[in-house]
C-alpha cells in the first residue's frame, strides 16, 4: 500500500516552506513526521499533489521558557516532549499525554504540531491544549498570528489555519491549578482513544466526543458552582455529539465520558 503519486519538496527554512506552500496552493501539504498524513494518503483519504517536507527544520524543535510561558516548537516529537525536563516539571499533563500517543515508534516520529494541525478529535494532544489554555502560533505569507486553542479546532481534520499557513509554535501558560489527569480508554494499548479526558485543575476537555476536542463546559460550570467532583462528572456528556463506530455507540461513549471525567477529577485532586 503506497500513497498516490505526489511531488516531494524539501524545505530548508521556514521561509522556504512558506514559499513552496504559496506556490503549491491548495494541492500542497506540509509533511512533518508524517504519522497522521502518510496513513491517510495510503488510504487515499488525502491526495495532496505536493508534499513539503519540513522535517529538517530543526529550529522548530525546542522547549523553552519565555515571558512567563512555555514555548514548544511545533516540530518537537512526542518522544522528546514526554522526556523534556521543563515540560515534565511545569506541564506534567502534557509530558504524560505525549507519552501516551500511539507507541514508541510513533512517538519518535510524530510531532505536536503535526498532531494539532491534523485536528483528529480522537487524538490525545488537542484536548490537552484546551485545558492548558494554549495559544498556537501560525506563520503565513503576511507574518505571524496567534490562535487560541479553543478557536483552532474547527471540525474533523479542519483547523482555522489558512492555506499556506504553518503552525510553528505552541505557547502554554503555567497552569493556575496544579492537579492534573489524563484518562484514555482504549481496547489495545496503541489504539486511538475510544473516549479520553484531560483535566488540569478545574478545566476539563474530552477526546473523541464530537467532531472536535471539546471542553466539558457543563462539568466546569458545576465545579465552579461548588459541586462535588463526582456530581460534576455526571454531566460530562452534556453538549457532546459523540461519533458511533465499531468501538462504541453514542450511549456507551457518553457513559465512558462520565466515568473517565470522574476518575480524572479524582486523580487531579489527589495530585493538586
Amino acid at each position: 500500500m503506497i500513497p498516490a503519486p505526489f511531488t516531494y519538496q524539501r524545505a530548508s527554512s521556514v521561509d522556504e516552506a512558506l514559499d513552496l506552500a504559496a506556490r503549491g496552493g491548495d494541492d500542497a501539504k506540509f509533511l512533518a513526521g508524517g504519522h497522521s498524513l502518510l496513513p491517510l494518503m495510503k488510504l487515499r483519504l488525502a491526495v495532496p499533489e505536493v508534499l513539503i517536507d519540513i522535517g529538517r527544520l530543526h529550529e522548530l524543535s525546542y522547549v523553552r521558557e519565555e515571558n512567563g510561558h512555555i514555548a514548544v516548537g511545533a516540530l518537537t516529537s512526542h518522544h522528546d516532549l514526554s522526556r523534556d525536563r521543563l515540560v515534565g516539571s511545569e506541564l506534567p499533563l502534557l509530558a504524560h499525554a505525549a507519552g501516551q500517543v500511539g507507541d514508541p515508534q510513533i512517538r519518535h516520529r510524530g510531532t505536536i504540531g503535526g498532531s494539532l494541525a491534523h485536528s483528529d478529535p480522537a487524538a490525545d494532544l488537542p484536548a490537552v491544549m484546551l485545558v492548558l489554555d494554549a495559544t498556537l502560533v501560525a506563520r503565513g505569507p503576511s507574518g505571524s498570528r496567534e490562535i487560541a486553542a479553543g478557536d483552532f479546532f474547527q471540525g474533523l481534520f479542519e483547523t482555522s489555519l489558512e492555506p499556506g499557513e504553518l503552525l510553528t509554535e505552541i505557547r502554554i501558560p503555567r497552569p493556575a491549578q496544579a492537579g492534573w489527569s489524563f484518562q484514555k480508554f482504549t481496547k489495545r494499548a496503541i489504539d486511538w482513544a475510544i473516549v479520553g479526558a484531560a483535566v488540569q485543575g478545574d478545566q476539563v476537555a474530552l477526546v473523541n466526543m464530537g467532531s472536535t476536542p471539546l471542553r466539558a463546559s457543563a462539568v466546569e460550570r458545576a465545579l465552579a458552582g461548588g459541586a462535588a467532583p463526582a456530581d460534576a462528572a455526571a454531566q460530562a456528556a452534556e453538549g457532546t455529539s459523540p461519533p458511533e463506530d465499531i468501538n462504541a455507540d453514542r450511549s456507551y461513549r457518553e457513559h465512558l465520558a462520565r466515568v473517565l471525567v470522574g476518575r480524572g477529577l479524582a486523580e487531579a485532586r489527589s495530585r493538586g
Binding site: 505526489f6 516531494y8 524539501r10 508524517g34 508534499l51 510513533i106 496503541i190
Partner: protein, 153 residues
C-alpha cells in the same frame, strides 16, 4: 542514506516508502511488511538510532540519515548482537515474522532504558504485535538482554 554503515543511493519515485527502499533497492529483506498501517511493528528499523515503522516513513525523509536494519546488528565477524543472542537463547519467537521488528524495537528500548522492569518492557514493545501471541518469551528475552548489558558494564 547510510544503511548499516554503508552509503546507499538510488533514484526512486517520490512516494517510495522506506521499507520498500530497504527491501527492493538495498536488497535487505529482514525488514518485513506486515500490516502496512503503522500498527504491527514488523517493519521497525532504527532511524538515527531510534525505532521507527518504515512503512510510514518516505525513503526521501530518510535521505542523508542513518538507517539500521536487523542485518546491521551483528558485528563484522557474524557475531550476533546481544539482543539477537537473547532472543535465540530464550526462544523469543514462534513463527519469526515479527522477530526482526521486535529485535529492532528492543535495541531502541534498551538504548533509552538499559534496565527496564517487566512492565516497562511490555509497554515499551506496545508498538509490536506477535500474532502467535509469543509475548512471554519475547519479554524474557528482552529482560535477559538487559541483564547481559548490565553484566558487561
Amino acid at each position: 542514506m547510510t544503511v548499516n554503515g554503508a552509503a546507499v543511493g538510488a533514484e526512486v519515485a517520490d512516494r517510495t516508502l522506506l521499507v520498500h527502499f530497504l527491501r527492493d533497492v538495498a536488497g535487505l529483506t529482514a525488514t518485513n511488511v506486515g500490516c502496512d498501517t503503522t500498527s504491527c511493528g514488523a517493519c521497525t528499523v532504527l532511524l538515527d538510532g531510534q525505532s521507527v515503522k518504515s512503512c510510514t516513513v518516505l525513503a526521501a525523509q530518510a535521505d542523508g540519515h542513518e538507517v539500521t536494519t536487523l542485518e546491521g546488528l551483528a558485528d563484522g565477524d557474524g557475531e550476533m548482537h546481544p539482543v539477537q543472542r537473547a532472543f535465540h537463547a530464550e526462544h523469543g519467537l514462534q513463527c519469526g515474522f515479527c522477530t526482526p521488528g521486535m529485535v529492532m524495537a528492543t535495541v531502541s528500548l534498551l538504548a533509552e532504558n538499559p534496565s527496564p522492569t517487566e512492565e516497562q518492557v511490555r509497554t515499551g514493545l506496545e508498538g509490536n504485535l506477535c500474532r502467535c501471541t509469543g509475548y512471554h518469551n519475547i519479554v524474557r528475552a528482552v529482560l535477559a538482554a538487559a541483564g547481559e548489558g548490565q553484566a558487561s558494564r
